[in-house]
């Protein structure tokens, strides 16, 4: 019988995932593929924004989409109409994706032949924020009907994102939503956050967002 030992570990349980994510980012760099992780609450307009984004950029980049939503076969069909390659990820009912699952999806999608891959993460603002997927940049969508105090209620996701897209600004007149307040609260959490108010419905503001993304993708895939 072996002797009982106590082993001090003292490490975050996210550490393994963080290492895998860093490794995946290095691989993406090698393959010259840009991965964007898109997060939001359900119904904030991820799919509609994605469609607009693809239409703007599909003639410049080879684009792929990974859908992680529990029930998003409808989304996948919509994306398919744009002509870009899309797959459905199998999360096994999990509330988030980790770097391992993301890499499996990228392998299935065939990242060697793609310049830009967009991951539509599982729809919530809590769990996806804790797990680095290995993405090059992280973006979140907050829509006007959700209210301007979300940065106060869910601070973590605002700190891990590079971009905040504020969607559905066409309905601003009908909601008690203070655009300046939400910017202030969000920047309080993350002073480097880029903020793009858009309407995925009317197309307002979309080009500012896609200009930013175009530059980011270009820098990543053309770097030496």
């Amino acid at each position: 019988m072996d002797k009982i030992r106590i082993i001090e570990v003292k490490e975050s349980i996210f550490e393994d995932n963080n290492r895998e994510a860093a490794r995946l980012r290095a691989r993406l760099k090698n393959e010259r593929t840009f991965l964007l992780n898109l997060m939001s609450s359900p119904g904030s307009g991820k799919t509609t924004t994605l469609m607009r984004t693809i239409e703007e950029l599909k003639h410049e980049f080879r684009i792929g989409v990974m859908e992680a939503d529990i029930d998003s076969s409808v989304d996948a069909e919509k994306i398919a109409t744009t002509g870009v390659k899309s797959i459905q990820l199998h999360t096994g009912g999990m509330c988030h994706l980790d770097a391992g699952m993301t890499e499996q999806g990228l392998n299935e999608l065939g990242m060697e032949n793609l310049d830009l891959v967009i991951l539509e993460n599982v729809g919530n603002l809590v769990c996806p924020a804790e797990f680095d997927t290995g993405a090059v940049k992280n973006a979140m969508i907050l829509s006007v009907p959700e209210g301007h105090d979300k940065p106060l209620k869910y601070p973590l996701i605002f700190t891990v994102c590079d971009v905040l897209i504020i969607n559905k600004i066409d309905v601003l007149p009908y909601f008690d939503f203070d655009l300046e307040k939400v910017k202030e609260y969000a920047l309080m959490r993350n002073p480097n956050l880029k903020i793009f108010p858009i309407s995925a419905k009317t197309g307002e503001g979309i080009s500012a967002w896609t200009d930013w993304l175009r530059n980011q993708v270009g820098d990543w895939i053309n770097a030496d």
């Binding site: 072996d2 030992r5 509330c95």
Partner: protein, 114 residues
């Protein structure tokens, strides 16, 4: 489900540490859990007891949870206060310019094994 995902990551970490230390049987795993980590301890325990049965290394292992209190620092007056009691508004000066300094941790503290 959030807790199950967390449990899988704990198991993965324990398996790696087990490998590195040539452990054959883990009997106890101690976790440090931040008060505002968003993880519910009772659900974490239920998921743990279900998931360890499917492992070789920690079939009978108990999960011990130590709570790390959540503390918020006020940038305006420099004081620290309990997050759960007072939230994001500083009880000393009323400022909203406050940051969580601890309380979101999910750390694997130690493993008892042979």
């Amino acid at each position: 489900m959030h807790e199950l995902g967390i449990v899988f990551h704990i198991i993965k970490t324990v398996e790696r540490v087990g490998d590195e230390n040539s452990l054959t049987n883990v009997s106890e795993v101690t976790l440090e859990l931040g008060e505002v980590s968003g993880v519910v301890p009772s659900e974490l325990n239920d998921c743990w007891n279900w998931a360890v049965k499917k492992t070789e290394l920690m079939k009978e292992a108990k999960l011990l949870i130590e709570t790390i209190p959540a503390l918020t620092l006020c940038e305006s007056c420099g004081k620290t206060y309990g997050t759960v009691e007072f939230g994001r508004v500083c009880p000393y000066c009323g400022s909203e310019n406050t940051y969580l300094v601890q309380g979101r941790e999910i750390n694997l503290k130690e493993i008892k094994a042979c």
